[in-house]
């Protein structure tokens, strides 16, 4: 039997909207065609509030609120599109581009990349911060897939899909801060992983060219994500 949930009414960008009490601000906003940029969020996985792109202003609250992890409340007044937010969102993307070695022109995901799309959408024309050019590795030890750390933005979608949907928990994050990186098993080559089922879900949910299928050349790696909401729905119905 479905749980009883209360309906909440709130304002997003001055528009009156309604949502269920167990829905996040992001869900309700998107239902009403109010778009917000997201990177770590993906339909069907848990939310971690890490990329800070979906931050919104809520009247009466000093701090900016991640809309992906905050449930709607009665009478909330949410602003998703202020100048301040637009500025911060651009800065988040600039920081990401400067963090690792994102060279779109030679990337397998050129033209099919969430990071690139958002940069275009939000009008990031220049990166004002010096590129950090870290020396990072490529792991091509897996038979079918490649991990290129140079293109990873640490959104942890791969970690979550592997843990929450596939149940293998092959992926995790090691290291702290700017040294953090995704790893397979206990930082062993992906090809030698004993937990990886080679299902490829991590590759499909990866927003950039960090995870790709072998044999794909520049701009050939587009991701197939239709399966994820379906799997999640099936799961929820079974429960």
């Amino acid at each position: 039997m479905a749980k009883q949930v209360q309906v909440k009414t709130l304002k997003i960008n001055g528009v009156d909207v309604g949502g269920r009490g167990d829905q996040t601000i992001l869900q309700v906003a998107r239902e009403h065609d109010i778009e917000m940029p997201t990177l770590c969020h993906i339909e069907g996985l848990s939310d971690v509030g890490a990329c800070r792109l979906c931050l919104v202003e809520v009247k009466g609250i000093n701090k900016l609120i991640p809309s992906c992890t905050t449930l709607v409340e009665e009478g909330m007044e949410v602003t998703t599109n202020s100048e301040r937010l637009a500025k911060y969102r651009k800065m988040v993307l600039e920081l990401l581009f400067a963090e690792r070695n994102h060279i779109c022109s030679v990337c397998v995901s050129n033209g099919h990349c969430d990071l690139q799309d958002l940069a275009r959408l939000l009008g990031v024309t220049h990166v004002r911060y010096p590129y950090r050019y870290p020396r990072l590795s490529v792991d091509a030890s897996h038979q079918r897939f490649v991990l290129d750390q140079n293109r990873c933005i640490l959104c942890t979608r791969c970690v979550r899909v592997c843990d929450e949907i596939e149940g293998a928990h092959t992926w995790d994050v090691m290291g702290r801060g700017i040294e953090a990186k995704v790893i397979t098993d206990l930082n062993q080559p992906w090809g030698s992983s004993e937990t990886c089922t080679s299902c490829g879900k991590c590759v499909q949910v990866c927003p950039t060219g960090a995870l790709s299928e072998k044999g794909k050349s520049v701009a050939e790696m587009s991701k197939r994500r239709q399966f994820l909401p379906y799997l999640t729905t099936m799961r929820e119905e079974r429960e």
Binding site: V48, A50, R52, T70, K87, M91, E99, I178, A180
Partner: protein
């Protein structure tokens, strides 16, 4: 645990019939300057003078004046000896009952001793931290037994609320309000609530929590048990960093002794209240001092914070309502319950009650551990208690709040030390680190130091903190090496605002504070580095030193 009923001990220190007690500080500061050898030498001297029956030598916790260690105090006689060496032992023992050894005596009339008010540290330097009998003799566990036998949980929360105690971890959230929230929240499906003590002290230069745990561990256990009773929890955890091995050892000993004596475990003091405490060791991540990261770490997960709400008070450890307070907060609780909330509230200022322990460090004559009433002025702390800046140098700033705080310049020396005032001038109370800088310190270099700390301690989960702190650190390096332009300064200021506003947890949100506060008060130093390629304090090495006019 050998003594039976030797707890009264008012006339004879330690309650074993001996008239004299030489208390040697065996907290980490004095230990590292050789107090263990001093203790052995004193024991030998007592023996060789045939005074075993009159005089005991006891290891005690922090005596405060860490810079002058090893310290030895003569109990009940208001005599503290400083810089004691093993060779001084015979002289000290011979002087017992007579004139004290003038050569080694600290000036007990100096403001360092007379200006302090001790609540949290009332037993530090007096009791042996490894003997529950000593703690009991110092009114230990009186508060817990009063709470369990005379007060309802509601009364306890009431007293804490009345006391006006605020979280000593830095943010200053009203403790009574926090306790009442958890007391009211519904336990999880298995009936659990938890009490956690945050002992993951990590601010550079701060050692208040370590000293309390090393000097008076029972006090923290008692505070936690009272919190458990008040909130309806029966399990507590102390999350302490593994870098504090002595504190961990003394905590373990204390827990064992408290369990044996019936002050922890099932049916405490023969009541229906049961409370266990376990220790969890941190693995060296500063971010685990953030409450949601701390909880993740106890659960065995990677220590990264998560967005709040939900707050731990409703959804904490393993999903159960969880109370998290700092070491010093719990250490205040027994005194509040013993003397009542109003007694505590009579100290401090209108909005910030009681006392605060500070670790005074940097360029002051007296460095060490102090406890002062909240509302004391910074000038009193630095110049009276701290004894001022040594070597005839000029005072420049005092840094409070660690990497989340800021630098306060001379113009604000006469402001009261309390939560609101400190944050108004761009710093924060923080957990209690206080580092004094004189004219030989470069404020840009200080900001760079703290930014490097935040960068390497960022967990890497959210982008502003992970990449923003690294970019800010790079910009500060550029400035301190004379390679920056004024545009770089603008970029830095813009990043400060962005990282502060958008980071996920307190670490990132407060990481820009050291830069912002030094920019606010010492902007000319930044400009001097950028425009004239010169470090006014002579600290930073400029790569392209240019000769400038004037």
């Amino acid at each position: 645990m050998s003594s039976e009923g030797s707890v009264e001990g008012a006339a004879d220190p330690g309650g074993d019939g001996k008239t004299h007690s030489l208390n040697v500080c065996v907290a980490a500061g004095c230990l590292s300057s050789g107090s263990e050898k001093v203790k052995v030498a004193l024991e030998d001297a007592v023996k060789s003078h045939g005074l075993e029956h009159e005089c005991k030598v006891k290891g005690v916790g922090c005596l405060g004046l860490c810079s002058k260690g090893p310290l030895v105090s003569v109990e009940k006689e208001n005599v503290v000896y400083q810089d004691v060496e093993p060779g001084d032992a015979a002289e000290i023992v011979e002087s017992l009952g007579k004139e004290a050894v003038t050569r080694l005596k600290c000036d007990m009339e100096s403001p360092f001793f007379t200006r302090q008010t001790k609540i949290v540290l009332e037993n530090c330097g007096i009791i042996d931290p490894e003997r529950i009998e000593d703690y009991l003799a110092a009114d230990g566990y009186e508060a817990l037994s009063k709470a369990l036998t005379q007060l309802t949980p509601h009364d306890v929360v009431d007293q804490i609320s009345k006391s006006g105690l605020r979280g000593r971890g830095g943010a200053g959230y009203p403790t009574g309000l926090k306790w009442s929230t958890i007391a009211k929240s519904v336990p999880d499906s298995t009936g659990r609530k938890f009490v956690i003590c945050n002992a993951d002290e990590g601010d550079p230069g701060a050692f208040m929590d370590r000293s309390v745990l090393e000097s008076d561990p029972f006090r923290v256990l008692e505070g936690m048990a009272i919190a458990g009773y008040a909130t309806g929890a029966s399990q507590g955890y102390i999350y302490v960093r593994a870098e504090y091995p002595l504190a961990v050892k003394r905590l373990r000993t204390a827990i064992r002794q408290a369990e044996k004596s019936g002050y922890l475990g099932a049916n405490i003091l023969d009541t229906t209240f049961s409370f266990r405490i376990d220790i969890r060791l941190g693995a060296g991540a500063f971010v685990c001092g953030e409450e949601t990261a701390l909880i993740a770490s106890i659960e065995g997960k990677r220590g990264t914070p998560r967005p709040r709400p939900p707050y731990p008070a409703e959804h904490g450890l393993w999903g159960a309502p969880t109370l998290i307070n700092n070491v010093e907060t719990y250490a205040n609780v027994p005194a509040i319950i013993r003397h009542g909330g109003e007694w505590f509230a009579s100290r401090g200022t209108e909005k910030s009650k009681g006392t605060k322990v500070f670790a005074l460090a940097g360029r002051v004559r007296n460095t060490g551990l102090i406890e002062v009433p909240i509302g004391i002025t910074l000038r009193e702390v630095v110049f009276d208690i701290g004894g001022g800046v040594p070597d005839g140098k000029k005072f420049k700033a005092v840094q409070t709040g660690g990497p989340s705080g800021g630098c306060i310049p001379a113009e604000h020396l006469d402001m009261p030390v309390d939560y609101e005032t400190l944050s108004r001038v761009g710093s924060m109370m923080g957990s209690g680190g206080m580092i004094v800088a004189d004219e030989t310190s470069c404020m840009v270099d200080v900001a760079k130091f703290f930014m490097e700390f935040c960068m390497s301690e960022s967990c890497g989960k959210c982008i502003p903190c992970r990449v923003g702190t690294a970019q800010m650190y790079d910009l500060l390096c550029k400035i301190t090496s004379g390679q920056a332009s004024m545009q770089d300064l603008d970029l830095l200021i813009e990043l400060c605002d962005m990282v502060k506003s958008t980071s996920l947890c307190g670490l990132g949100q407060s990481a820009p504070n050291p830069v912002l506060s030094t920019l606010r008060y010492f902007r000319s130093e930044y400009e001097e580095h950028i425009l004239n390629k010169r470090c006014p304090a002579g600290v930073c090495k400029m790569s392209n030193e240019v000769v400038h006019n004037g």
